[in-house]
């Protein structure tokens, strides 16, 4: 084995330049495929992250009727006892985030626009999604203050700014009229472009008062130490809620349309990856073909003197294996370094492209995903291609005519 490995290793470096070029091609394949995946997944992760943090949460508890009829009538009672019981269900739950949300009309003296009102516990909300950091003007409200914070797009649509007064008109719980005047104490930049054009934040208690929904919430978001535990924690909460009117939903259950859209968006990326794999496979095969054909006589001699065909085939497999392994490992290292740079400094889109992306409802940046699985997935695919190509020299050796090979 040691001698066969030595033979394979030294044979590889017989033509250093060619071997290095081949390894470079594999490095390029891994880096390019990881990079493409990272761009797509990065955008998707950002969208999902913003969606979960600012809208759905990774886990959300609702009244079972709320899914089909998202009305304040389907809000539910929430107090410290429920919070404590939920926290006791699973050690991985870090906090419980209450929200009350509804659609209302918002108006100034001349204009009326529809918007979503979110009654939130500011401190908990900030802990979950860094809400306070998104303030661009003014300040955030205090508990129970009759002040609101508007998303920037919404304030632009209404032509209102800090210190102006906004009128909110809508329907409270059980058909009660809900209306009031509120001071705009701050303007924030909502990360979801769609929500940025129609969001109003106000203190939870103020919202409850406005909507005649004392002690009620429309949803509870569950904070966890890691989103990887979503399913496990959901199962535990599900057991706890059995027999009640409350249900726990995971984020894919809450935004299935978005997930379908993102998957559809990935089709193009997959197609590009497949084209890249095919190009790399043919390039690699060309090199292996040359390496094989120029050594046919040597193979014939080795078999003549008594080297078993399988041993020789294994030696050739080792050569391809080593090239593949070196290429893939180096590729992962280079890809990691490249992605880490772009992870720290995302590429910002400008000009018309940026506007187009914003119009599509996405942020105008190219965020890179740093998910570990994309490294090993792409590495395994490229390595598998390399190993698949090793079949050719092995087949040639197994079928080799020793006499004609020795004369070649």
């Amino acid at each position: 084995m040691k001698t066969l490995f030595k033979l394979a290793w030294r044979s590889l470096w017989r033509n250093k330049r060619r071997t290095l070029i081949t390894i470079s091609a594999l490095i390029f394949a891994v880096v390019a495929s990881v990079f493409m995946q990272s761009i797509n997944r990065g955008s998707h992760e950002m969208i999902v992250d913003n969606m979960t943090r600012f809208q759905t949460g990774y886990l959300q508890i609702q009244d079972y009727r709320f899914e089909n009829e998202p009305s304040l009538d389907n809000s539910f009672y929430y107090d410290g006892d429920l919070e404590r019981e939920l926290l006791e269900q699973d050690d991985r739950i870090t906090f419980v985030l209450p929200r009350i949300e509804t659609f209302m009309l918002a108006a100034d003296e001349q204009t009326t626009r529809g918007g979503f009102v979110f009654g939130v516990d500011l401190e908990k909300e900030h802990q979950f999604n860094g809400l306070k950091d998104r303030l661009v003007n003014g300040r955030f409200f205090d508990d129970r203050e009759r002040g609101v914070v508007l998303s920037q797009g919404f304030s632009d649509r209404l032509g209102l700014s800090v210190s102006d007064t906004i009128a909110l008109i809508g329907q409270g719980r059980f058909g009660m009229s809900a209306s009031g005047l509120y001071e705009i104490v701050g303007i924030m930049d909502h990360p979801l472009p769609d929500m940025n054009s129609r969001t109003i934040y106000m203190p939870l208690e103020t919202a409850r008062e406005l909507l005649s929904a004392e002690d009620k919430v429309t949803s509870l978001l569950i904070g966890m130490d890691s989103d990887r535990h979503t399913d496990a924690v959901a199962a535990n909460i599900g057991h706890f809620l059995e027999g009640s009117e409350l249900r726990v939903f995971t984020w894919p259950e809450l935004i299935p349309e978005l997930l379908e859209l993102l998957e559809f968006d990935l089709v193009g990326a997959y197609l590009m990856s497949y084209i890249l794999y095919i190009v790399i496979a043919f390039g690699f095969f060309g090199t292996i073909l040359t390496m094989t054909l120029e050594r046919i006589k040597e193979f014939g001699i080795l078999i003549s003197v008594g080297m078993a065909r399988l041993k020789l085939a294994f030696t050739l497999f080792l050569e391809v294996f080593i090239i593949g392994l070196l290429g893939v490992i180096a590729g992962v290292v280079f890809a990691w370094l490249l992605l880490y740079y772009f992870y720290l400094y995302p590429i910002e889109l400008t000009g018309e492209l940026a506007e187009t992306v914003i119009d599509m409802g996405w942020a105008p940046v190219l965020p890179m995903s740093f998910a570990p699985d994309q490294f090993y997935t792409q590495a395994v695919i490229v390595f598998f291609i390399a190993i698949l190509i090793a079949v050719y020299p092995m087949y040639r050796v197994i079928r080799l005519d020793v006499i004609s090979a020795s004369r070649s």
């Binding site: 001698t3 030595k6 033979l7 030294r10 044979s11 470096w13 017989r14 006589k297 040597e298 001699i301 080795l302 078999i303 003549s304 003197v305 008594g306 080297m307 078993a308 065909r309 041993k311 020793v402 006499i403 020795s406």
Partner: protein
Amino acid sequence: MAVIRTEKICKVYNPDTIPVHALKDVSIQVEKGEFTSLVGPSGSGKTTLLNMLGALDMPSSGKSFIGDVEVTKLSDKERINFRLHNIGFVFQHYNLIPVFTARENVSFIMMLQGVAQKELLERADELLESVGLGDRKDARPHELSGGQQQRVAVARALASKPRFILADEPTANLDTKAAMNLLDIMEKMNEEQKVTFVFSTHDQRVIKRARRVVTLVDGAVHSDKTTTPDNTVKE
């Protein structure tokens, strides 16, 4: 018992299109310790017969024996293993493994045989000493002259302790001095260790020193002459 024996072997190439009869009913026998040359003009069937003797190729008809084993009945896999343990090869173009040193080239065959590491290294060193290359054992083939490479090839052929060595035009690419040096070494091994050599050759220098000369013409044995130690020639 003869080391090699063939019984009426024939080899026909392209039997279904334009048949070429490379060997016609060749029956020869090589005894242990012989120093035999297969000679003849180009196309006479020397290399084809050498391939049959070395179990590299199969005859179209007839039988071929090495010791008491009928090699014509062996499968490809069995023949490879049989060659490994029974036959040494020396090729016209040396055909050493270019990425291995002289010592590694010689020990490689023993490694394939499963000889223990310590033993194979010792034997490789001994063999390289015996062909006068004890001081070049760490040199790779491209660092050696043609004559030196061919001596490494002889040492490699001997490494497996074969029943006989087949050499295809071993001196064809060597100058006179190197060819004589190689022949001296092989002759010495033949005399002292009773190693059996069978050459195919055009080279008069080899033919003159061979004690048996089998001449092939058009695929058939034309003559078979043996020179006895007292220099009388028997047909």
